[in-house]
C-alpha cells in the first residue's frame, strides 16, 4: 500500500470506527425506527389499504423506507461526526496531516455512506425475508441507492462544516429534511393528493429519489427514470464540487 492509500484508508476507518463504537445509537435506533414504520404503515394501515397502483401497500412503502434510512443515516453521521470533531478540536489531527482536501472530503463522506448502507442493507434483508420484497430493476436500484447515499453524505458534510452548534444540524434535519422526506411520498402516491399538493410534491427533490428506489424494487414510478437519474447525478456532483471548494479553501475548518 502506498502512503496515500494508508492515509486514506485510516481516515475512512476512523469514520466507520466512530459509528461502530456507538452501534446502539447509530445502527440500532434507526433500525428500530424503520421497523416501527413498517409495523404501523405496513401491517396496520396496509391491512386497510391493501393495494396502491396494483402493488401490495407494504411493498409500496418499504422501498421509500429503505431510501429514507439510507439518506437520514448518511446525513446524520457526517454532520455530527464533523461537528463533534470540530468541538473537540480533534479534527486538527486530520487537518494538519498531509491529506489533501479531496482525500479528507471523501473519507468523511464515506463514513456516512457506510452507515446508511449498513442500515439500508439490514432493512432490505429483513424485508426480503419477511414480506418477500422483490428487486425488479437491479441496474436502476444500485446506482440510485449509491447516488442517494452519496448525495446525503455530501449534504451531511456540508452541514457539519457550516454548523457552529448542534442546533444548526438539528435545524436542517428536523425542519428541512424530515418534511421533504415525509412529503416526498414515502407512504403514499403523489397521484392521490389533491391539487395544489400533487403539483407541489413535484418540486420536492426527494420525491424523485423515492421513485427511483421504488422503481428499482417493485417496478413502479410516477416520474421519468432516466431524467431523475440524470438530475440526481448532477445534483450529487454539484454538491461534491461545492464541498471540495469548501475543503480546499478551508472554510470553517482552517482559521
Amino acid at each position: 500500500m502506498s502512503a496515500r492509500q494508508i492515509r486514506f484508508s485510516t481516515l475512512w476507518r476512523r469514520e466507520v470506527n466512530r459509528f461502530m463504537k456507538i452501534k446502539k445509537q447509530t445502527l440500532g435506533a434507526p433500525l428500530l425506527e424503520t421497523f416501527l414504520y413498517i409495523m404501523v404503515f405496513g401491517a396496520a394501515l396496509g391491512s386497510r389499504i391493501k393495494h396502491l397502483h396494483g402493488i401490495d401497500y407494504i411493498l409500496f412503502v418499504i422501498p421509500g423506507l429503505i431510501m429514507m434510512a439510507f439518506s437520514t443515516n448518511a446525513f446524520a453521521n457526517n454532520s455530527s461526526s464533523i461537528l463533534q470533531q470540530k468541538f473537540q478540536g480533534a479534527i486538527q489531527d486530520q487537518l494538519s496531516s498531509p491529506a489533501s482536501p479531496g482525500e479528507l472530503l471523501l473519507a468523511f463522506s464515506l463514513g456516512g455512506f457506510m452507515r446508511g448502507l449498513t442500515v439500508a442493507t439490514l432493512t432490505f434483508v429483513v424485508s426480503a425475508v419477511l414480506v418477500g420484497l422483490p428487486v425488479d430493476h437491479l441496474l436502476v436500484l444500485v446506482p440510485s441507492l449509491f447516488l442517494v447515499g452519496f448525495f446525503f453524505s455530501q449534504l451531511g458534510v456540508l452541514t457539519g462544516v457550516r454548523a457552529e452548534q448542534f442546533d444548526d444540524v438539528a435545524f436542517v434535519q428536523t425542519f428541512v429534511l424530515q418534511p421533504l422526506i415525509f412529503l416526498g411520498g414515502v407512504f403514499y402516491s403523489a397521484a392521490l393528493l389533491p391539487q395544489p399538493f400533487e403539483t407541489l410534491t413535484r418540486f420536492d427533490p426527494i420525491y424523485y429519489m423515492i421513485n427511483l428506489v421504488r422503481y428499482g424494487f417493485v417496478g413502479f414510478t410516477e416520474v421519468s427514470i432516466p431524467l431523475s437519474l440524470l438530475a440526481l447525478t448532477g445534483a450529487t456532483a454539484a454538491l461534491f464540487l461545492v464541498n471540495l471548494r469548501l475543503f480546499t479553501s478551508g472554510y470553517k475548518l482552517r482559521a
Partner: protein, 256 residues
Amino acid sequence: MREGALQIEELVKRYPTGVEALRGVSLEIGPGELFGLLGPNGAGKSTLIHCTTGLAQPTAGSIRVFGHDAINDYGAARQAVGLAPQELNLDWFLTVEETLDYHAGYFGMPKRERRERTRELLETFSLTEKRDERTRTLSGGMKRRLILARAMMHRPRLLILDEPTAGVDVELRLELWHYVQRINQEGTTILLTTHYLEEAEQLCDRIAFINEGQIVGEGTSGELAARYGVANLEDAYLALVGRKELSRSHIEVTAS
C-alpha cells in the same frame, strides 16, 4: 547554504474580523536547534504555529519546512512536522492505542511500523497500561503525555510543542524536559512555546520574543537580557510587556 528547518518570511495573518495576529514575522530555525518562542497571551505564538501546520491560512508571506513550501508543497511540509498543541484535542471515541495508530496512519505509516512505534511510545510515556482506555477517561497529565506521544508518532524532523508543560505536575514537567532534550540531541529540531521562562532558559539554544504579532527580539537568553539592559531573561520579558515593576529585584529592593 544550509537548509533551514523552519524559514518564515514576512508572515502576515489577518482574520476575517480584521484582527491582525501576525504582522510581518520573519524567523529562521536551523536543523537540530531547540528554539523557544516567548510572548504574552495573544501575541501570535499559536497563530504562527497554526500557519506552519496548516491549521490557519497565512494572508501573506512564506513558510518553508526543511525547504518545502507549507502552502504549495503542504504534503511534504506537514509530513516533516509534529504538533503537540496547547489544547487537549484528543478524539473521545478513540482509545490511547488507537489515537497513536490512527495518527501515524494519517501520515501514511505502514501497519507493522505503526505497531512497533506505538509500543515504543506507549512505553516511553508510561501509557502502556492505559492503552485500551478511551482518551476522555484519562487524567490531564496522561492526556498531555498522549498528545506528545501522538506528535512524535510519525517521526517528525520538526517538533512543535505549544506550551507542553502548562498545567502538569513537577514530575511530569521534568520528565518531559528530559525527553525533549534527548530527542533534540538525537537530531529532532524543536520549536517550543512556553510561559515558564526558566524552562526556555534551561532548554533552548535560542529564543525569540513575539509581541503584538511581531518578533521584537531574538538570541540567546544572555543576548536578550543585554538587549533590554537587564540581568536575566525574566526581566527582559517584563521589559517587553511593559511590566518592569514586577521584576523580582525590584520587589526585593522595595521590601528591604
